[in-house]
């Protein structure tokens, strides 16, 4: 999908996007309604018991911690917490669901009516053709508020393994196997308002949700392993139209990039259908990340009747104000607040604060490094954290807390540069050594004999040598060709094997050449 094509389409058409995001509460020790352990993988059908297998006579007992996690997530998104709530049964037959009903929530979810503020910057901000009513910030970035309709809790299904068909899909399969290890895992479902207008906004919303859930520590939010699953509803309409177009639902979106690309494809597909006089069919579509296209999965010929009714195996839940306030008091610092604090306390630009707080481990690393380096050097520490350190993490697929580079070591490195012991350029070489496990920066500097030459008299001696060896250039310089200063700096650096303090060199050169 050409980026330009999307931008072109979005000039003429408005996309309306809503997300349904299922997140497994992987931080819980046990499943939603039984004592089976929660973990990805495992020998098939080993993490099961009579309850999550739906054996006759077994009963569900709700996991209080799962409910707490959901309420915390709701509070983090400024939802209202229902003072009375209950589970319902959603009745439908499918082989991956052992009871042939799913315990879910219906008209009274635990949390309703919240929102997330989503900042869109960089290239993706350009997808938004109409900025009316948005909060703009620096560099063409903007912030948009996306409503959260509801947040509820339900149980996950097992996994079907289709054998004999292509890519494990059911079409063409000779038989199907079922692994119930996942069945009964607590699953939190978020339904957003259809407030997103571009694929980038959808991606940012999902990323923001992930960051919040990671901050709360309720899930590992791993899209590839399926602990966070995003379904995207999307329709398009001509700019200016009020009525919504026919929507499709896109499934099998296994990464944030896939979410963006699938929506981009779908928006262009729908717009082209409508532009050519065709209609969009209401259906569920499957994203094929390899082919970079969606294809029809099933058409909703008629709405399913799930025959919801209150789950009689459990008593309803009531939450008083004191409980809600107690939960609210346990909320950790959330991403927006952390970003604001980074700006206020460390004097960082928005861009730095956004990048640092967008990754929990990186933010924690940064804070420890600043604590060691001193707040006066917060910007320099940020530069190093977001620069060489992040590049090193990305190149090796590491998290900030998984490396041999400690926050205090990075702080030490910044200190060596700031007190002019080494140059910034030398710092990069020192960092490369640190990243290889070369030890503390001070020791590396010692070992490599990298100390910066800042002694003025020594620099003067070398400058004098360089000037004496290049009389023609000195004459040209003094004749007005001042651009030759770079040449002299280079010569001095060569003579000192790059160890001369550039500031001192510049100062001495300026003085000597002026004589």
């Amino acid at each position: 999908m050409a980026k330009d094509r999307l931008a072109e389409v979005l000039q003429e058409w408005e996309a309306v996007i809503g997300l349904e995001i299922h997140t497994e509460l992987t931080s819980l020790n046990t499943k939603m309604f039984c004592g089976c352990p929660v973990a990805f993988g495992g020998e098939v059908n080993t993490r099961v018991c009579p309850v999550c297998l739906g054996m006759p006579g077994s009963l569900p007992v709700p996991n209080e911690k799962a409910i707490e996690s959901t309420i915390l997530a709701g509070l983090a998104m400024e939802c209202d917490i229902s003072r009375f709530s209950q589970f319902h049964r959603k009745n439908y037959f499918y082989p991956d669901m052992p009871k042939d009903y799913q315990i879910s929530q219906y008209d009274i979810p635990f949390c309703v009516g919240g929102h997330l503020d989503v900042e869109v910057d960089g290239d993706g901000a350009g997808e938004r053709a109409d900025r009316a009513g948005l909060r703009p910030s620096e560099d063409g970035a903007y912030t948009t508020r996306i409503g959260v309709t509801r947040l509820h809790l339900e149980e996950d299904t097992g996994k079907m393994i289709h054998v004999g068909g292509a890519e494990g899909r059911i079409a063409g399969a000779t038989h199907s196997l079922i692994d119930f290890n996942r069945a009964g895992t607590a699953l939190m479902e978020l339904v957003s308002e259809p407030d997103m207008r571009t694929p980038e906004e959808a991606r940012r919303f999902a990323q923001k949700l992930r960051l919040i859930l990671l901050t709360l520590g309720v899930s590992d939010c791993n899209m590839e392993e399926g602990s966070m699953r995003v379904d995207a509803n999307c329709s398009v309409r001509s700019r200016g139209d009020v009525e919504l177009g026919v929507k499709t639902e896109v499934k099998n979106v296994n990464s944030f990039k896939a979410l963006h690309d699938a929506l981009a494809f779908e928006i262009v597909r729908q717009a082209e259908l409508l532009a050519s006089g065709h209609e969009v069919e209401q259906e569920t579509r499957h994203w094929d990340a390899g082919a970079k296209r969606t294809s029809s999965l099933r058409t909703k010929e008629y709405a399913s009747d799930y025959r919801y009714f209150p789950e009689p195996d459990m008593v309803p839940f009531t939450f008083d104000d004191a409980y809600v306030e107690r939960m609210r008091a346990t909320l950790p610092e959330l991403p927006d607040a952390r970003k604001a604090r980074f700006i206020a306390a460390y004097g960082l630009p928005v861009r730095d604060a956004t990048a640092l707080t967008g990754d929990l481990a990186l933010a924690a690393f940064y804070e420890r490094a600043v604590a060691a380096a001193g707040v006066a050097r917060s910007k320099q520490v940020s530069n190093w954290t977001l620069g060489d350190f992040s590049a090193f993490l990305n190149a090796n697929g590491l998290e900030a807390d998984e490396t041999c580079v400690s926050p205090s070591a990075l702080a030490e490195l910044v200190g060596l540069i700031e007190d002019a012991t080494i140059s910034g350029k030398q710092g990069k070489d020192v960092f490369a050594e640190m990243a290889k496990g070369g030890g503390a920066p001070g020791a590396i500097v010692e070992r490599l004999g990298m100390r910066q030459l800042s002694d003025t008299s020594e620099v003067e001696r070398i400058v004098d040598e360089v000037l004496a060896a290049n009389p023609d250039e000195v004459a040209s310089y003094r004749g007005g060709k001042t651009s030759l200063v770079g040449f002299f700096v280079g010569q001095v650096m060569r003579a000192t094997k790059g160890q001369a303090n550039p500031g001192v060199v510049n100062e001495v050169l300026a003085r000597r050449l002026a004589q």
């Binding site: 009579p50 309850v51 297998l53 739906g54 054996m55 006759p56 006579g57 077994s58 009963l59 569900p60 007992v61 709700p62 049964r89 009745n91 037959f93 082989p95 052992p98 009871k99 042939d100 009903y101 079922i178 009747d305 025959r307 919801y308 009714f309 009689p312 195996d313 459990m314 008593v315």
Partner: protein
């Protein structure tokens, strides 16, 4: 030399057995022998059991006898032969619910109430016949054929826990557990002359009893005496972490107050139910005589009306089937149970496995419930039925302000003939008209024999407020004494 004839120990009470074990006058192994001897003698006519579990019973007996031999304290039900309705899970047995779809289903875990009986030293003799998935009032809906009433083998023992009731009445076991969703313990108790209790909803864990209607189901005992009923209740009640609807209450000794009599207790005859058309006048007369007798013992007898209970039956036939339609969805041929052969796809597998595996009454209830929960009908049916339920609860609350217990017949008639109502579901449903409101309100009620008509037992239903089992059983004990009902049917008397 012929094999030794087992002693007839079937008349022994729970207390008798414990005393006998303690004194060395009998052994648990002998109790097993006696139970199976009685089964050999009567079972061909009664058909109370779907399966027997002699090996489990002998293992349990060996443990009890070892305790007794060591002079250790004996648990509450030591050496007592017990039977379980075939919807209660017990490892080592099939749990069929008298349904073809579960005909070969082997339990993979133990029902909590069953486990509590066995931990208390009871001997598991077998699993009892029932109406398929507990849908019925006669056991005629069993896929394995009906049970017969020991008082008259041509009559039904009631249902759905008819096998459990018949097994106790015929002396095949000392006690049995049943489940009661709309009267499935009390009505067969009435038909077989046994003491049959439905405890307060939440008093006994439902974990391990195959669900019919989750908001109504409750496990309870059949015994030949009120004292034993109280003893068993003490064993099976109490909070179970596996059942979120089980209630956390201090353990109670339900036998403690039994002997206190009814002097000063307020007994309310539920007039509108007793006078209902369709209630056999002779049955009504027995209950009124019982009330008079309680009055003579010092009870303050009065009359009360429960006007909303007239809507109990229709409300029950919405809520029960609605919950059942969902609870029975899991019997789909995928993971266990009957699976149709040569299905074309998964939908065909579901449809044929269920149509071939379920009996007609089960299919009727699933259809009723599915319809009642359907979009567009929910409010008119399920929603409305829940409102009726609230009204019935209020009726009872009002009544229990003026009375300690309420009294009705357990069922409008004595045991009917096999086949008599089999083709008329509504006539069958009416058999539970007095018992259903109790489930809808979640209160406790016991059926206790209060006399007989033409040689068939009549049960009086004593209802109490939530968790008032102690009072209910105290009144039942008084009725037991004044009625002087002999719980031994002629079939058993003739064996001697």
């Amino acid at each position: 030399m012929s094999a030794p004839v087992p002693r007839d120990l079937s008349a022994l009470s729970v207390t008798d057995v414990r005393e006998g074990l303690r004194s060395g006058a009998l052994t648990a192994a002998e109790m097993v022998e006696a139970a199976y001897a009685r089964i050999d003698a009567v079972e061909s006519g009664v058909h109370a059991f779907n399966s027997l579990s002699r090996e489990l019973a002998e293992q349990a007996a060996a443990k009890v006898d070892a305790l007794a031999a060591a002079g250790d304290d004996l648990p509450a039900l030591a050496g007592v032969p017990v039977a379980f309705k075939d919807n209660m899970n017990l490892i080592g047995t099939r749990t069929t619910c008298s349904a073809k779809i579960l005909a070969d289903y082997r339990s993979v875990y133990d029902c909590t109430a069953v486990r509590r009986c066995l931990d208390a030293g009871a001997l598991p003799i077998g699993k009892c016949n029932m109406d398929e998935f507990a849908f019925g009032s006669s056991t005629e809906n069993s896929a394995f054929g009906p049970s017969h009433n020991p008082w008259d083998l041509e009559r039904v023992p009631g249902g759905s826990s008819g096998g459990s009731a018949a097994a106790v009445a015929a002396g095949e076991v000392t006690l049995a557990l049943g489940s009661d969703t709309g009267g499935s313990i009390r009505q067969p108790g009435s038909f077989t002359g046994t003491v049959a209790l439905k405890p307060t909803y939440g008093r006994v864990s439902r974990y391990g009893v195959v669900a019919f209607a989750s908001s109504l189901d409750q496990i309870g005992p059949f015994t030949r005496s009120v004292e034993e009923c109280a003893q068993v209740l003490g064993v099976i009640s109490g909070r179970d972490p596996m059942d979120a609807t089980s209630v956390d209450r201090e353990a109670e000794d339900f036998t403690a107050a039994l002997g206190q009599g009814v002097d000063g207790l307020r007994v309310g005859i539920v007039r509108d139910l007793c006078e209902m058309e369709g209630c056999d006048p002779a049955v009504r007369a027995r209950v009124y005589e019982t009330a008079d007798a309680l009055g003579k013992l010092g009870a303050k007898v009065g009359e009360v009306e429960l006007p909303s209970t007239q809507f109990g039956l229709p409300a029950y036939y919405i809520i029960g089937p609605a919950e059942a339609s969902s609870n029975l969805a899991r019997f789909d041929g995928i993971r266990y149970g009957y699976r149709a052969k040569d299905a074309e796809d998964v939908m065909d597998l579901y449809l044929r496995s269920r149509v071939e595996g379920f009996g007609p009454e089960t299919i009727r209830r699933i259809m009723l419930g599915t319809y009642a929960l359907s979009a567009g009908y929910y409010d008119a049916y399920y929603g409305q039925a829940q409102k009726v339920r609230t009204l019935i609860i209020r009726d009872f609350e009002r009544a229990f302000r003026d009375f300690d217990v309420l009294l009705t017949p357990t069922s409008p008639t004595t045991a009917f003939r096999i086949g008599e109502k089999a083709t008329d579901p509504v006539a069958m449903y009416l058999s539970d008209v007095f018992t259903i409101p109790v489930n809808l309100a979640g209160i406790p009620a016991v059926s206790v024999p209060c006399g007989s008509i033409d040689g068939l037992p009549v049960g009086a239903q004593v209802m109490g407020a939530h968790f008032a089992e102690g009072t209910v059983l105290r009144v039942a004990r008084a009725i037991e004494q004044v009625s002087a009902f002999d719980p031994v049917p002629p079939l058993v008397r003739d064996l001697a």
